[in-house]
């Protein structure tokens, strides 16, 4: 078919009209569907200034004092369990760990010498998620269910977790636990302020991000009667944790891995 000038103009005009009509109809539809009460980004706000806005980003960190900790109490672990509904499952294979104890040799495997300081051998040390500066667990997560927040907390989104356990394999500190069974029957005291987890997701310490948002210290730090746990912003020179690190010899767990743990051990 030969295209005449007139036919070409007709088709062009029709196409322009059709495109315009589509936009017009869509515009009417959008206006009708979004009344003023429909929520959007403007409705959300952050409490506690966790994102910081124009302020320098935080890096939450903790220092555990060897000398004061290890008195045989378990206040911190109990406080954590009741704050976050952490189950106590008797089967060691199914254990869920947020903050727990490991012997010195396992916590610092490369710090050993031929003639060891006797009070350290076999001594239980407190361990928890290190909230690394460069966390390997977040790199291997295929669904971005775990990621590093701008305040240094390595966060979990249980909604996105598909239970692949790559992060469990990626964490060199064993700080992540997988829910092999429904944890609810094993929770001692249920805290309704915090959700439980379900079978099939990975969980770990969250540095009490929900308490930090309310301006509270982490539950373990608050519960420690020996004041062995020091918490604060590692980027703030005047914070309690930086003050402690200034004057004391401190160790990080296997720093040669380059993970940059935010949990320090004061000897």
């Amino acid at each position: 078919m030969k295209i005449t000038r007139m036919n070409f103009l007709r088709v062009l005009g029709g196409a322009v009209l059709a495109a315009g009509a589509g936009k017009f109809v869509k515009g009417i539809g959008d206006a009708a569907q979004t009344p003023s009460g429909v929520p959007g980004a403007k409705n959300f706000a952050t409490a506690g200034g966790a994102t910081g806005g124009d302020r320098a980003p935080k890096r939450w960190g903790m220092a555990i004092d060897f000398g004061k900790c290890g008195k045989g109490c378990n206040d911190c672990m109990r406080a954590c369990r009741s704050a976050h509904n952490v189950p106590q499952i008797p089967d060691a294979n199914h254990e869920i760990k947020w903050i727990w104890e490991e012997p010195y040799e396992k916590v610092f495997p490369y710090q050993r010498t031929d003639y060891e300081r006797q009070d350290l051998v076999g001594r239980p040390l407190l361990v928890l998620c290190n909230h690394c500066a460069d966390p390997p667990c977040t790199r291997v997560c295929p669904t971005q269910a775990t990621w590093k927040r701008d305040d240094g907390i390595v966060m979990m989104d249980y909604h996105r977790c598909i239970g692949c356990r790559y992060c469990v394999a990626g964490c060199p500190y064993g700080s992540r636990s997988f829910n092999w069974v429904d944890p609810r029957p094993y929770i001692e005291t249920m805290n309704p302020q915090f959700p439980t987890r379900t079978k099939g997701v990975v969980e770990k310490c969250n540095f009490c991000e929900e308490r930090l948002a309310d301006g509270l210290l982490p539950a373990c730090v608050e519960a420690c009667s020996q004041k062995a746990l020091v918490f604060g912003d590692l980027n703030d020179e005047n914070s309690a944790v930086r003050q402690a690190l200034k004057s004391r010899y401190a160790m990080q767990r296997t720093p040669e891995l380059g993970t940059g743990p935010s949990v320090f051990y004061l000897t």
Binding site: P35, A47, P192, T196, L217
Partner: protein, 141 residues
Amino acid sequence: MRDRALIFAGLFLFVAIVTCPLWWGIAARTSTQGPELKLAEGKTCVAPADYMRASHMQFLIDWRDGKVRQHHSQYTAYNGAHYNVSLTNTCLGQCHGSKKQFCDQCHSYVAISTPSCWDCHQDVSGKTATMATAAVPGRMP
């Protein structure tokens, strides 16, 4: 037309079998009984009722992603009221009572399975007030 009786009997049987779920529902008084929601008096929802009716799951997903992934713990409603972003403590605790009283009524009426929210989130209305005071406030230095 000698088979008239047979044909009509067959037709009647067919119609009766096809429509029996309806009769069953009416007899059991389940089809005719809609959800009866008891709403907290003098309270308005976080978004207009029409929007919530049509898009409450989308709304909950926005709340969820905002809280978990963007640290948005506060929500300002269309009418200016402020809410803590929390399924258990705001939605249920402040207004809707429990999952059974609110969510389940419509979900079971229209035979939509309950989403997996409650595998983790707690359905514990009434207990929240006593537990909220249990935390000892120790302000950040």
